[in-house]
């Protein structure tokens, strides 16, 4: 009880715990804990055999945080910026530091634009996006979608119903729009 000074009574003694739980107390001494202390100066421990790494060639102007003094010697090269989303991304990196909300909000907006651009592009390719296979939603049938949720007292069921609407909604809307446009055009002929 916190209203008096003594430690609360232990439910189980160390011996009981040791008997019940393999390895109980093996790392009781902080000396055995590899993350303690947090900082330990030991550059020789990492395997690096350089003071500063060789620089990876920069094959296109790599976007980078304005909080960096220079391009880091090593970086990822997947999916360079492209299209409207690429313009937005480069703008967010160029104009705003990580400290500004605008930096992240523009990057998030660019992600939504990227998804739309990529879906549209895919329809002009040999591999159009397929929302059924790409969402893996058929596993609802083979992996107990119903019984995994119903009668289980899960908190996330309260909002999971929104996900299909959010994911499928834009596709349904786009299909509807396409249908009405095509029909209107056909009528005009």
């Amino acid at each position: 009880m916190p209203y008096t000074a003594e430690q609360p009574k232990r439910r189980e003694s160390n011996d009981d715990l040791r008997a019940r739980i393999p390895g109980w107390g093996a790392d009781l001494d902080p000396k055995n804990r590899p993350a303690v202390p947090r900082e330990r100066f030991d550059p020789a421990a990492t395997g690096a055999h350089w003071d500063f790494p060789d620089r990876q060639p920069e094959k296109w102007p790599r976007e980078r945080s304005v909080e960096h003094k220079m391009l880091t010697p090593v970086f990822g090269t997947t999916v360079p910026p492209r299209g409207v989303s690429g313009v937005l991304r480069k703008y967010a990196y160029r104009e705003y530091s990580e400290g500004q909300a605008a930096h992240w909000l523009i990057l998030l907006a660019a992600d939504r634009v990227d998804a739309v651009e990529s879906h549209l592009l895919s329809f002009a390719s040999l591999r159009p996006d397929n929302p059924i296979t790409e969402t893996g939603v058929l596993s609802e049938l083979t992996r107990h979608g119903y019984s995994s949720r119903v009668g289980r007292n899960r908190a996330d069921v309260k909002h999971q119903w929104m996900d299909p609407i959010l994911v499928a909604g834009p596709w349904v809307l786009a299909a509807g729009l396409l249908y009405t446009t095509v029909r209107a055009l056909a009528r005009r002929r």
Partner: protein, 383 residues
């Protein structure tokens, strides 16, 4: 090669991609033999992490065989079986020199606040990940390690993130002999954190989640007392009750940005992206810990702000510890624990899914179907 590819929120598929080339003298190319999907991947999958580009390959938990090495690589050669920590790090910058491997300054041009992580958006450096047949591994002399002869592949796989992170999370809880430790979240990270809390000498371990099948695992695998928060009006009050109104000595947040239990928080973060993450579990942790206690945050949050109850943390005089796990620092001691039989990481693997079916793997893990705890991905050539 075949590789998982992100196609927009809730959509992934397997595409043909070029085998990645060596781009730096200390690179290695690894042929992936096993990969996994992590709770962190769900934040990408749900479109919550800024600068997640369509076309990226996810996956930061993987093991494999060295296929090719760059000209300056000394410690690895073709054919070596290796496990690769989820952190990409140089080993020589200010932070690496001090053991902060997850906070390396030389690998992520996109952000100074975050280190490098395989397959984890451009905010974490723009590297393709290991849910694929091949992957580029930078700083091959620093990150990867040979898989010990005696170690099972799935155990090695889980050492690359989930196990190391849970073990790290328990250490950041600053646990003393006999302490009461509460762990929010019974996913892979929470289960391993609960199990590790005993190694640090905890006297009681409480695990909180809303998925009964995971709480069952917390009882059997992690010997914990469990609480389903959906069964209580107010889980914080229950935490106070069970600790005789003192509060837990240490609390670990193993939930992160997509915490359930508060619809407003869910809507403003997961749906409308106005927050870097829903801090429901973090707030519960802050309110459940005793005054002067420690909160260890393993759950990941996005770079945008979150509505955290900072006043309570301040008034209670809490210590908050947190970081992405510096994985390789945990390995030598973890290997001893595995060899001694104290930890059996692969006990939590529930699904083994061929790479070609990864879209279903993501859906099952994200929607928590089929009692899924940890899905492992098997590239076709290793099946």
């Amino acid at each position: 090669m075949r590789a998982m590819v992100y196609r927009g929120p809730y959509k992934v598929r397997v595409d043909e991609k070029d085998i990645p080339p060596i781009e730096h003298p200390n690179d290695a190319i690894i042929r992936v033999t096993l990969a996994a999907i992590c709770g962190s991947d769900l934040h990408l999958y749900h479109g919550m992490m800024p600068d997640t580009r369509v076309g990226m390959t996810f996956g930061h938990e993987f093991i494999g065989v060295v296929e090719e090495v760059g000209s300056s690589v000394q410690n690895l050669k073709r054919g070596d079986r290796v496990m690769v920590p989820f952190n990409i790090y140089c080993g020589s910058c200010y932070f690496c020199a001090r053991g902060l491997y997850s906070n390396c300054h030389n690998v992520n041009p996109n952000a100074t606040a975050v280190g490098g992580i395989y397959g984890y958006s451009h905010t974490c450096g723009g590297y393709d990940g290991g849910q694929s047949e091949y992957v580029r591994v930078p700083f091959a002399d620093v990150g990867p390690a040979l898989i010990p002869e005696w170690m099972d592949d799935e155990d090695a796989l889980l050492c690359t993130d989930a196990l190391a992170t849970g073990y790290f999370g328990a250490q950041l809880g600053d646990i003393h002999e006999g302490d009461t430790v509460a762990v929010f979240g019974a996913g892979p990270v929470g289960l391993f954190a609960a199990k590790s809390a005993w190694l640090m000498g905890a006297g009681r371990v409480l695990v909180i989640d809303h998925l009964d099948y995971r709480l069952e695992k917390a009882r059997t695998f992690a010997h914990a007392e469990t609480f389903n928060f959906a069964e209580y009006d107010d889980i914080v009050r229950e935490m106070k009750k069970t600790t005789d109104y003192l509060g837990a000595d240490a609390v670990i947040d193993a939930v992160g940005a997509e915490a359930d239990g508060n619809l407003t928080q869910h809507l403003t973060s997961a749906k409308f992206k106005l927050q870097g993450g829903s801090p429901v579990a973090l707030n519960w942790a802050i309110d459940s810990v005793r005054k002067g206690g420690t909160v260890s945050v393993m759950g990941a949050y996005g770079p945008l702000f979150s509505a955290v109850k900072f006043g309570d943390a301040m008034n209670k005089g809490l210590t908050l510890h947190m970081n992405q796990c510096p994985v390789k620092r945990q390995w030598p001691r973890l290997f001893e624990h595995i060899q001694n039989g104290y930890l059996k990481p692969s006990d939590i693997v529930t699904h083994r899914i061929p790479l070609e079916h990864i879209a279903e793997g993501y859906h099952i893990f994200s929607a928590k179907l089929d009692n899924c705890i940890k899905p492992v991905i098997v590239p076709s050539q290793s099946a």
